[in-house]
C-alpha cells in the first residue's frame, strides 16, 4: 500500500469556545475522489482549510504530499489546486485575465489556459467580466483556476451549492475528468446525492467529529441493511410463497401491489429465486435501496437538511 496523499491525524480546531473540529483523522489515497460530507457547520470547511494550509489546527498533524501545510505552505501551494467556498474575484476582472494572472503565479509551467477554458466550456466567455457570469460559469472558472498549475491534489469546497441540477451534473462530469487525469480530489458537500454519485470514499462528519469513513455503498450495507422490493401480481399463492423468504421482515399489500421488506444483501436474490421457483407472474418489479441519506439519518438521528 502506498503512502496516502493526505494524512490527517487527530486535528482539533476551536474558535473561542466553539469546537469546530474535534479529533479528526482521515487518509486520502492517490487518484481517488474523497468526500467529506455533513450538514452546514459540521466542520467540513475548517478541516479542509487546515489541510490546504489556510488555517492552523490547534492540535494534531497533517501531511499533504509529504509536506506540512503550515510550515511548507508555499511549497504545498505550488502542488495543489484550491476552490474555496463562497469565493469571489474582482467584479470587473475578465475571465482570460484571471486565468492569465493565476498562470503567472506558479513556478511550474502551467496548463494551457485556453485549453482549460475550452474544456470547461468557458471559451466564449473569455472576455466577459466576472460579475456577468452565471453561478455555474463562476464555479467552472474557479475549477479552471484550481487546475491552472496542473496540481497533484485538487480541493473543492461545496462546489455545486446553489447550482441548478443541470449545471450540477455538468460539474460532476468535470470532476470525474479530473480524476481520470490521475489527480486526487478532496471535496466537501452537504448533498448526499453528490457524494453518492461522485465519491469513491466518503467521511461523514458531524459536530466536528468523523462518524464513519468508507465507500458509499459499503456505508449503506453496514448501516442500512434494509432492502425493499415492490411488485405487482395477481397470483393468489404469492403471499404464502413470500412468507418463506429468509430474512423477510414484513409484507404489506394494496390490492395486487405488494411491498416486501427484508434485510441483508441476499434478500433481493432470495425474492427473485422465490418468484422463479413458484412461477409467480409479476407485472411490476422494483427494488428500493437505502441511500447515503438514510445512512446519515441512521447515524445522526436526524436528516442532513435539519
Amino acid at each position: 500500500m502506498t503512502v496516502p496523499v493526505i494524512q490527517v491525524s487527530g486535528i482539533r480546531k476551536t474558535y473561542g469556545k466553539l469546537v469546530a473540529v474535534d479529533d479528526v483523522s482521515l487518509d486520502v489515497h492517490d487518484g481517488e475522489i474523497f468526500g467529506l460530507i455533513g450538514p452546514n457547520g459540521a466542520g467540513k470547511t475548517t478541516t479542509m482549510e487546515c489541510v490546504e494550509g489556510i488555517r492552523r489546527p490547534d492540535h494534531g498533524t497533517i501531511r499533504v504530499l509529504g509536506l506540512d501545510p503550515v510550515r511548507d505552505v508555499y511549497q504545498l501551494q505550488e502542488r495543489i489546486g484550491v476552490q474555496l467556498q463562497q469565493a469571489q474575484l474582482q467584479k470587473r476582472i475578465k475571465v482570460w485575465e484571471a486565468v492569465h494572472l493565476w498562470a503567472s503565479l506558479y513556478r511550474k509551467k502551467p496548463a494551457v489556459g485556453n485549453q482549460l477554458l475550452e474544456q470547461l466550456g468557458l471559451i466564449e466567455k473569455r472576455n466577459a467580466w466576472f460579475m456577468t457570469l452565471s453561478g455555474g460559469q463562476k464555479q467552472r472558472l474557479f475549477i479552471a483556476l484550481a487546475l491552472i498549475n496542473d496540481p497533484e491534489v485538487v480541493f473543492l469546497d461545496e462546489l455545486t451549492t446553489g447550482l441548478d441540477p443541470q449545471a450540477r451534473r455538468a460539474i460532476w462530469e468535470l470532476v470525474r475528468g479530473i480524476r481520470a487525469r490521475g489527480k486526487t480530489v478532496f471535496l466537501t458537500t452537504h448533498l448526499m446525492e453528490e457524494a453518492e454519485k461522485l465519491c469513491d470514499r466518503v467521511a461523514i462528519i458531524e459536530y466536528g467529529k468523523i462518524i464513519d469513513i468508507d465507500r458509499p455503498e459499503r456505508l449503506v450495507v453496514r448501516h442500512c441493511p434494509e432492502r425493499t422490493v415492490l411488485l405487482a401480481t395477481t397470483d393468489e399463492n404469492a403471499r404464502e410463497a413470500f412468507a418463506r423468504i429468509p430474512n423477510l421482515v414484513s409484507v404489506t399489500s394494496d390490492d395486487e401491489r405488494i411491498t416486501l421488506a427484508g434485510s441483508g444483501d441476499a434478500f433481493i436474490t432470495d425474492v427473485i429465486q422465490c418468484l422463479s421457483e413458484n412461477k409467480i407472474h409479476v407485472t411490476e418489479f422494483r427494488t428500493v435501496l437505502p441511500t447515503l441519506e438514510d445512512v446519515f439519518l441512521r447515524l445522526t438521528g436526524h436528516s442532513i437538511r435539519d
Binding site: Q77, A87, Q88, L89, E97, L101, W102, L105, W129
Partner: protein, 252 residues
C-alpha cells in the same frame, strides 16, 4: 523568502480593473482636479502665491500643498476601501490560497495608488497653469517626487485602517476620520509653534506633519538636504505602520 512573483501581472490587472470602474476613476482623479480649478477661478491661487499674505493664512504654497494632500488622502481612502471590499468578498482569501504573497498583493495596490497620485498631480499642473502662476523657482518634478514619498508613507496608515475595519462600509468613514484631522494638526493652517505642547507632541508623531513640512519646503524651492529629517520621519512612519499592520492584518 521575499518573493514578488506575479507583481507586474497583478499591478497591470488592478490598473485595468480600476479604470473599468467609472465612478472610482472619476472620483479619485477628476474631482480633485475640478476642485483645484474652481478654487483657482475664485482667485485663491493668487492669494496663496502672494508671498506676503501667505504666512498668515496658509503657509507657503498653501493651496497646492493642501490639494496635494487631498490627492494623497483620496488615494489612501481608495486603497482602504478596495482592501476591505476584497476582504469582505473573499477575494483576498482566494488570492491567499495561491503562491501569491501578502506583500505582493499590497505592493500592487500601492503601486496603483502612487501611479494614480502621479497622474492626478500631472493633470492638476496642466490644468492649473492658468490660475496658479507657479514661478520658475517651484521645482515641479521634485515636488511630485515629494508628494509620492508622502503618499507612500500615508498609505501605510491606510494599511492599518484596512487591517482593522470590520466591513467595507466602515472603511471610508473610519479612514476619513483618521486622515483629515491629521491635516488639521499638520501645521498647514496654523504653524506648529502656536500649538499647545500636548498637541505639538501629537503632531510630531504624525507623518502628515512631515509631509506638509517637506511639500512646503520643496515648493519654496528649498533643497532635499534641508528636508532630510522630513523624509526620514516619513520613512520611519512607513516602517512602524507597516509592521503594525503586518501583525493585525486579517485576510477574511
Amino acid at each position: 523568502m521575499l518573493s514578488l512573483r506575479g507583481l507586474p501581472e497583478l499591478t497591470w490587472l488592478e490598473i485595468k480593473i480600476f479604470l473599468r470602474e467609472p465612478m472610482g476613476a472619476l472620483g479619485t482623479i477628476f474631482i480633485p482636479v475640478l476642485t483645484f480649478l474652481i478654487l483657482g477661478r475664485m482667485g485663491v491661487g493668487r492669494i496663496a502665491n502672494a508671498s506676503q499674505s501667505v504666512g498668515a493664512l496658509f503657509g507657503a504654497g498653501g493651496v497646492p500643498v493642501l490639494v496635494s494632500l487631498l490627492i494623497a488622502n483620496s488615494a489612501v481612502l481608495s486603497l482602504v476601501t478596495i482592501i476591505s471590499i476584497y476582504r469582505e468578498g473573499g477575494i483576498l482569501k482566494r488570492l491567499r490560497a495561491t503562491p501569491l504573497r501578502p506583500q505582493t498583493i499590497l505592493s500592487a495596490h500601492v503601486i496603483v495608488k502612487l501611479l494614480l497620485t502621479a497622474v492626478t498631480m500631472t493633470l492638476m499642473v496642466l490644468a492649473g497653469k492658468r490660475y496658479y502662476t507657479a514661478g520658475p523657482e517651484v521645482p515641479l518634478f521634485s515636488f511630485a517626487i515629494a508628494l509620492l514619498i508622502a503618499t507612500w508613507s500615508i498609505l501605510s496608515i491606510g494599511f492599518i485602517v484596512a487591517s482593522i475595519v470590520p466591513t467595507a462600509r466602515f472603511a471610508q468613514p473610519v479612514g476619513a476620520l483618521v486622515l483629515y484631522p491629521m491635516i488639521g494638526l499638520s501645521g498647514l493652517f496654523v504653524p506648529l509653534t502656536s500649538f499647545p505642547p500636548g498637541m505639538r507632541a501629537v503632531a510630531k508623531v504624525l507623518p502628515m506633519t512631515y509631509a506638509v513640512s517637506l511639500l512646503q519646503g520643496i515648493w519654496r524651492g528649498e533643497g532635499w538636504m534641508a528636508h532630510g529629517g522630513d523624509v526620514l520621519g516619513l520613512f520611519v512612519a512607513f516602517l512602524v505602520c507597516t509592521s503594525i499592520s503586518a501583525r493585525v492584518f486579517r485576510w477574511e
